[in-house]
Amino acid sequence: MSYKSYTICLTGNPNVGKSSIFNNLTGLNQHVGNYPGVTIEKKEGFFVKNEYKIKVVDLPGIYSLSATSDDEIVSRNFLLEEKPDLIVDIIDASNLERNLYLYAQLKELDIPIILAMNMMDMMESNGTILDLKKLEKDFGILNVALVANKNIGTNGLIDKIIEVLSTSKNDKKEIFPIDFGEEINDFKTKIKNFILQDKNFSKSLPLDFLALSLMTEDEYTLKRISSLPNYENIVSFIKNQKNSILKKYDEEIEVIIADKIYSWIDKILESILSQNNIKKKNISETIDKIVLNKFLAIPIFAIFMYLMFKFTFTCSLPFVILFEKIIDNISKFLNNTVSIEIIRSFLVDGLVAGVGGVLGFFPLILFMFFSIAFFEDTGYMARAVFIMDRVMRKFGLHGKSFASMIIATNGCGVPALMATRTIEDKKDRLSTLLVTSFMICGAKLPIFALIIGAFFDAKSAPNIMFLMYLISIFLALGSSFLFRKTIFKGESSYFVMELPPYRIPLLKSLLLKMWQRGCQYLKKAGTIVLFVSMIIWFGLTFPKVKEANLINLSNEEIRTVKLENSFIGKIGNSFEPVLKPIGFDGKIGIALITGIFAKELVVSTLGTIYSLGEIGEDDEEGILKDKLKKDPFWNKKKAITFLIFCLIYMPCIAFASVFYKEAGELKWLLFLIFWTTFLSYIISFFVYNLLNI
């Protein structure tokens, strides 16, 4: 069947439920878009309805088309350059004033728009009544009511999308245009005429938007018309005209335009909104008075963070033990059933020990994602970013830097690097990029869980983990402070942010977020970890030692000879002189090297190394944690040094490549590698030697 294909995009202010609507529309038919020339992940998916196949692009949230940060620029550029067939502007129905401002700008783009009125339940619970029919009839604004987190209204939205796409796009006269006033309208017409003087000018941008945007001397639109032969004339005309408006009204044109837009919004709202008698106490305001109190804000934040880690580690423990037992039983089963030695070794020592070592911590990762999603969905995470802004500034960072750090802790450093695009100031951004690598991402978590689980009892494990998080934050802040005093001198930029209302999170939404993020971890285990585990197994198994050379040796000696003779063993041994001063041996060296490919590989490599060691029948089988505990080489001091080294040392390849892309210059990548390597070695050296005094 041949489909009629269209592209639509979802846009709107941040925190209006775009992702929920995207998920409802596309279901499982989604993947991350890869747009050439842009540097942010945009979600892309599709749905099919009758003969229509609709591509849906979910854009980062914006408040207006005058974009300042990189993520806003991506959204703005998509809307202007990619020209979707339809825009679905998602609106928080409980906050129409703010949300309609973007709509007012979008309608200048000459693209059909549907307003998706989300959170209708919240609006109604606030006692507000909204006449959506009147909005469409009297003001010509197409709309659909939704409660996205309960999947209410999705079918209505799909029907509306199809209806609009199937209608011809012949000029429809605007029923209720924005009244910018005679002077601005005249100004707008003159700019349009100037542009149209050039017959070759491509009308790639809608003229109304272009003219309005040029009045505010928006850098993007100025750049877009810079090739026009009369560019200089246009610029000088705009400047003169702006000056005369300023003189006449004692107000800048940007303010006048915004004022006109808000007046237009007020007129619409006067007509379609009414309030019933329900007077609800604003709980968010009350909570904020406590949560943002100058004495309570930081302690409350610290308690929440501690509870999050306590919940994650305590509640996931039975599941982690269960997973470990399952993996151990698979090893035993394979040991007993597969008779060909080399295949058995490949399956047990390579695949199960390598991938299983990483998969064993899957429950812990899920619990961590769940608790972070909980704080996000309640609305507290936005407050945490704001509270931390003040702390961050003291160290030359930005509140949004903290958001990046949380995202890194939320799973992976790669999206955390991308999230720095919301930081407007370049120095703030570079500083954040450089210190994000110190965060304990989902890939480092298994290393910490393994080592802490092996050398510390269950009662002190959450405390040690919390301590590691504190060290990572201390390192990030300390490094940034140093950078801002030396290489990135200057003040941090401003902070303004919308605080969403507090909400009771829906279990379904939390589970969905947890699962989506958890799947990324599983995907990595099934791809890169699996692949490198096979290579590690090969490198540790070959070349084989002749049986004759193993005669009369103890099991321990056989283990050592086999390891030292292997390809990877030789590489590890060559690093031993460098690693000895910090208490590590060649085996740890090998694990650390593989960790550069992906941090989980530290665990899987240790799994393979310790599994391959079990050669004799008298060797006990068991989980990696127990094997490390039994190895006389390891002790608590080495464990702590190892944790600190893993926390700091150079990031994985994926992180490094995205870092290079985001920082824009090779010198910053080289600096990152130098700084993390230098710092990890120096700190580990001091920690190890101090612990041994």
Binding site: R390, R393, E424
Partner: protein
């Protein structure tokens, strides 16, 4: 006075900006900082962190920026 000095629960009117970068000015204008616009101080610097209610939205603003936002108290 500037926003830093505004008291909690006070109703204020936005007057103007002082020394703000163009991009930031535009952002605040888009968010509704238009001369004469009324807002409520939800939490003040005195009590911790500055948040205001402007056109139905709770906005969090850092102290440095707030010191560049001139406001007038509504009686």
């Amino acid at each position: 006075m500037n926003l830093v000095n505004a008291k909690q629960n006070a109703f204020i009117k936005f007057v103007s900006f002082t020394n703000l970068m163009k991009d930031y000015r535009q952002k605040l204008i888009d968010l509704g900082f238009i001369p004469g616009e009324k807002m409520k101080v939800l939490t003040s610097k005195e009590d911790g962190f500055i948040t205001v209610l402007l056109r139905g939205t709770r906005l969090a603003i850092d102290n440095e920026s707030a010191s560049k936002i001139l406001v007038k108290e509504e009686k």
